[in-house]
């Protein structure tokens, strides 16, 4: 398999993000900047985590617990960053509103705020896909392929692309959910995000068992669908609420 396969894997992991990027984000420079900075935040978190765990790698034991510990700390750390990101965003939003007032443009609409959250989440998701999937895809552009022993049904590239797609979805949408939760003070929305992230990450532990990927991938996609559904419902109600409120104010 050559270039075609490599491009295929890449698009499998990042295709939806790419189309979302072109459709929504590329037209608005500010969203691109948000995306980039959120990617950078994720990268920094990954570097910090790897600095933390570097000394213990690679794990000698075949047991689960070191991996579970890695995932627990990683998810905890990344979820701790999210409120921080929110706080920065909050300040930025005030600034944007001030600027909008000064150039006599309308303030941020609710859709604008959601788009900012989407861009922020997509930064996380894309960073995940890039570092966990894309950066290992290089060999797939060449003539060879690679199978891991634990998941012999498909090539490693395909598995990692499929998993990356699920995580991109989860990361992207959970930022929208979380931001909404913070804005509304909605506890459910605030807590569902780390929980989903943790469950999804823990599901990948199944891959350590022989043939585990057959089970874990559908479960992972189940989580992605749950996130998608929750996000969709939430956005729908927010928009409907907003419309009715606007309608009554006129």
């Amino acid at each position: 398999m050559t270039v075609a396969a490599g491009i295929g894997y890449t698009l499998l992991a990042l295709g939806p993000s790419l189309s979302l990027f072109i459709a929504v984000i590329a037209k608005k420079p500010f969203l691109i900047l948000t995306l980039l900075s959120s990617t950078l935040v994720w990268l920094i978190s990954l570097i910090v985590l790897s600095g933390l765990w570097r000394a213990f790698l690679p794990f000698k034991t075949a047991s689960l617990w070191p991996y579970a510990l890695v995932i627990l700390t990683s998810v905890a750390f990344q979820e701790a960053l999210r409120p921080l990101f929110w706080r920065i965003y909050k300040r930025l939003e005030d600034m944007l509103d001030a600027v909008a007032d000064r150039v006599s443009k309308p303030r941020l609409f609710i859709t604008d705020k959601m788009q900012i959250a989407l861009a922020g989440g997509m930064g996380h998701g894309v960073a995940h896909a890039v570092f966990f999937c894309l950066s290992l895809l290089t060999p797939s552009f060449g003539p060879g392929t690679y199978y891991v022993e634990k998941c012999s049904q498909m090539s490693f590239f395909l598995v990692s692309a499929i998993i990356a797609l699920a995580f991109v979805t989860i990361h992207t949408l959970s930022m929208v959910i979380a931001f909404n939760g913070y804005a509304e003070g909605n506890k459910v929305d605030q807590y569902i995000v780390p929980v989903v992230h943790l469950i999804a990450a823990m599901l990948t532990l199944i891959n350590l068992a022989h043939g585990g990927c057959i089970i874990s991938i559908p479960l992972l996609y189940g989580m992605a669908v749950v996130t998608l559904g929750h996000c969709g419902k939430m956005v729908w109600t927010r928009l409907a609420e907003n419309r009715s409120r606007q309608g009554s104010s006129y």
Partner: protein, 445 residues
């Protein structure tokens, strides 16, 4: 919701206008390095250029030897650059402007013809692209001539100029990636420091050059990427002033005087002393001074041809959006018509006012050395490429924001290069084993 009403569409436009060509340049250099770089033959055919005059790296040398040699190389290169820059300042001071213009054109010609030709040739060889020599020569000659005419003239479509600038950056960067590893790193660090000194220190050559140019009301005869809007952009109401506004918001400074828009000029002198390719092959002196990345802040009064003086600039702010839009477009047209708008020194010492709408400007040296860093990272792994790319872009963003805050000439290399190098080594030493370890066992988060 009115179309285009959102503030999100106008804020950060100038930043993106600079970032996207830099990204394109880096991306293409990475592709080039990926397709052409071959670790097996990498060390056999290093060429002697001005950047490794003193020391030729060979993989068998000890680390101390490599370090010492690469530091020496970098020092020699920087001294050469500094000398040539001072020479240029001198020439410019005594009004040899035409000489400088033709010299820059000549060096652009040399880069496009010889270095560009060799890059193209190796591409053709690598991909077995069927083309005969005559066709190639004709096409390449045309490419070169158009490029040479484009890079310094104010006529011609701006898109063409911009793409030739990017092409120039790619070619030079591709050439620089052939340097041995240690020398590359030493060189990048040295250049970042040199840039800092040359732009910020009193009496620094680039600072002198820019001040000279601005006091004379001229454009520097240098290779600069202009992020001017290509055609009249769709109704971009507040273009050119949003960054100042945003930063004004950051610093909590609500006085209207920040409203004047910010323009950067990262001026790059590309004095390619390509005493190129002595085909006899002893020593190829290839002095590519692509330094100089100062950025100057220019106050820009949109659609206002008389210079604003302090008081009045406080008065005339905030026209209605539509009015502003008209002003903008008028300014744009004017700016395109006479690219050298009459600038006048403002008495308040705020810098200088300038008619016509101009975008940000970034020196070609930034393009080149950002791309060199990313290209070097590409020889290791894709992961380091992404990390370095993000670091460089965020460094560039920081520089732009810093520029809007402190509003005087700023070097564009130091922050980006420092971040880039830091992230490269962090990624290579810390992150790579971790990520590869977890993801090959399909554990992700």
């Amino acid at each position: 919701m009115e179309p285009g009403g959102s503030i999100l569409e106008s804020i950060g436009q100038e930043i993106i206008g600079v970032m996207s060509p830099v990204s394109i340049c880096m991306f293409l250099v990475v592709l080039l390095v990926y397709s052409l770089y071959n670790p097996a033959t990498a060390n056999s055919n290093t060429i002697r250029t001005a950047a490794n005059l003193v020391y030729m790296e060979s993989p068998t040398d000890s680390t101390a030897q490599k370090l010492e040699g690469s530091l020496l190389n970098a020092a020699v290169f920087i001294i050469l650059i500094a000398l040539v820059t001072f020479l240029l300042v001198l020439l410019y001071y005594y009004n040899f402007t035409n000489f400088l213009v033709y010299y820059t054109r000549f060096s652009a010609f040399a880069v496009f013809s010889s270095m560009g030709g060799s890059v193209l040739l190796s591409l053709i060889q690598h991909f077995n692209f069927p083309v005969d020599a005559v066709t190639f020569c004709i096409l390449h000659f045309n490419f070169t001539i158009v490029g040479t005419l484009c890079v310094l003239s104010s006529g011609g479509p701006i898109v063409l100029k911009q793409s030739y600038m990017v092409a120039l950056g790619i070619i030079v960067a591709a050439w620089f990636t052939k340097l041995p590893e240690w020398t590359t790193w030493a060189l990048l660090v040295a250049l970042a420091i040199y840039d800092l000194v040359a732009v910020l220190a009193p009496g620094g050559p680039l600072k002198l050059l820019v001040e000279l140019a601005s006091s004379r009301d001229e454009e520097l005869p240098a290779l600069i990427y202009e992020a001017r809007p290509t055609v009249e952009m769709r109704s971009s109401g507040v273009r050119g002033s949003t960054m100042g506004l945003l930063v004004g918001g950051i610093s909590g400074d609500n006085s209207r005087s920040t409203d004047g828009g910010v323009e950067l000029q990262a001026v790059l002198r590309n004095n390619n002393n390509n005493g190129n390719e002595n085909r006899g092959g002893d020593s190829i002196i290839n002095v590519l001074e692509n330094e100089s990345n100062e950025i100057e802040v220019v106050r820009e009064d949109v659609g206002e041809s008389s210079p604003l003086i302090g008081g009045s600039s406080l008065m005339e702010r905030l026209p209605s959006p539509s009015e502003r839009r008209n002003n903008d477009n008028a300014g744009l047209l004017e700016g395109n018509a006479n690219s050298r708008g009459s600038r006048e020194n403002e008495s308040q010492g705020e810098g200088f006012a300038e008619t016509g709408l101009r975008g940000l400007k970034l020196g070609l040296g930034d393009f080149v050395f950002y791309s060199v860093l990313v290209g070097r990272a590409a020889m290791y792994d894709l992961m380091t490429v992404y990390a370095c790319y993000l670091a460089i872009i965020s460094g560039l963003g920081c520089t732009l924001i810093l520029l809007a805050v402190c509003r005087h000439a700023l070097p564009a290399l130091p922050i980006s290069i420092a971040l880039g190098i830091m992230f490269y080594f962090l990624t290579r030493l810390l992150m790579e084993p971790f990520v590869v370890g977890t993801s090959t066992s399909l554990v992700m988060f």
